[in-house]
Symmetry: C2
Subunit: 253 residues, 2 copies
């Protein structure tokens, strides 16, 4: 059965999608079968690999219509071994449509269960909120990876996230483990980045990945070419760092 | 009565808070009375001016408890002419608490109405979602300012935002105007930034502010010192650019 890694932090713009698309590709490059699931209605992960004009059904259909089968919502990414389960904006309706449904926190876990036997890793990209979509991701996941930007606001939101994780572990998903905390958008030249990095390590200790993702324009550009960093700019710092992260993730899972 | 500007974009990390805190200070520096309202449960705007240990009641109390008066939730920012109405994490409960309430979209507009006569400008910082909190901001606002980062994902989410704005204009707030689109986190050295900037201008035309906010580490640092960019780094590009934006906002309102 697959390891399911939810990439979560309700702070916006901290590199959740950038981490999801490149970690998924990093794992696929090792010959593993990987599925990237986009649980953000903004579809940034989907856009990073797919031409959305060719996407018909998506995650919302699978979650809301029990006749839809998994094969109908899975698309090839162009990277060998990596498939994508995209989202569309209709996913934004999920929370309001699920009011009153008893299985609301378990819907993704139930509907994606058949996929656990076809992939070694399932990577979940999540939106910048702690609403029902993110709860679904945390209930379904075996592991949680938290990207944190080394900026002033970085540590402020982590209490709520950890509180939410504890609630999830208490009942719907006792097996959920914190895989690690990843420092992203790091700029070695500034004292702010270094100070915040030190704070993150003092709060999370050895949960912090040794790998630090530094700011690199190549990471910003690669989605525009629908490529991972590994083929877009194989010699870049971004490629080296996400390769190293992939290594560490495999050690920890 | 005050002009109320909602700073909104459901894409995370595009500079909503950075724009809210510095535009509010820019307007206050001109001798205007300004209120900065933090409608994001992550409290990033609140943190940029206040020591949260000294914050007791906040926006959630005002919205949910009709006995709470406005004066009890307004705090001085340290910048002359600028007050802050902070949020706490309890604001995240707002949406679920309001299920079934007929005045749900109007709650902020109703509860903050008395403040319109005490300030020339009210600046609303919003979370990276299009949920009930952001709807409340758009129903209450007279103007909408949309920061857009010049990055690959930038234009993807703007359709949904504009659709939401049209729905708001149709019924709860026909007077809502798009004040403008602000290009943020711009890096003049990269083709990606220049390409996306050109796309933003071709989509939004003269709604795009002439002012472009470029990447500057001073803008990242100033909140850690609970100062606006104008006192933290008065000679920086960030201070010049937010000064120029303040000028353009005053021309357009
Ligand atoms: N290491 C990096 N170096 C440079 N740019 C980066 C890096 N990581 C992410 N970015 C850029 O920063 C922006 C935010 O990153 P991303 O979209 O991955 O964050 P997110 O957490 O998924 O955002 P959201 O909260 O909206 O889902 C994007 O424009 C992305 O290209
Ligand atoms: N022009 C800029 N130059 C450099 N850094 C910036 C600039 N504008 C914003 N930042 C930094 O980028 C990060 C995201 O900005 P900010 O928090 O203002 O975005 P936001 O849209 O409010 O995010 P969220 O969606 O989480 O509310 C912050 O660390 C901020 O300090
Ligand atoms: Mg994302
Ligand atoms: Mg913000």
């Amino acid at each position: 059965k697959s390891a399911i890694i939810a990439i979560t932090n309700q702070k916006g713009g901290v590199g959740k999608t950038t981490t999801a698309i490149n970690l998924a590709a990093g794992l696929a490059r090792r010959g593993l079968r990987v599925l990237l699931v986009d649980l953000d209605p903004q579809s940034n992960s989907s856009l990073s690999y797919l031409d959305m004009r060719e996407v018909d059904r998506s995650i919302y259909d699978l979650l809301m219509d029990s006749r839809v089968r998994c094969e109908q919502v899975i698309y090839p990414s162009g990277v060998e071994g990596l498939d994508v389960l995209p989202s569309r904006i209709n996913l934004a309706k999920f929370e309001s449509q699920m009011v009153g449904e008893f299985d609301a926190p378990y819907r993704a876990k139930d509907r994606l269960e058949p996929l656990r036997y076809r992939y070694s890793f399932i990577i979940l990209d999540t939106p910048p909120t702690l609403g029902l979509i993110t709860v679904n991701a945390l209930v379904m996941a075996t592991h949680l990876l938290v990207p944190i930007q080394s900026s002033y606001y970085a540590l402020e939101g982590t209490d709520d996230l950890l509180e939410t994780v504890e609630k999830i572990k208490a009942r719907p998903n006792p097996a959920l483990k914190l895989l690690g905390v990843l420092v992203t958008l790091h700029d070695r030249r500034t004292t702010l980045s270094r100070d915040v990095h030190r704070q993150i390590v003092s709060v999370f200790g050895d949960k912090v990945f040794r790998t630090v993702i530094t700011k690199s324009v190549r990471l910003e550009e690669s989605p525009a070419y629908r490529e991972s960093i590994f083929t877009y700019a194989p010699q870049s710092s971004g490629a080296r760092e996400y390769e190293q992260l992939t290594e560490e993730v495999l050690e920890r899972v």
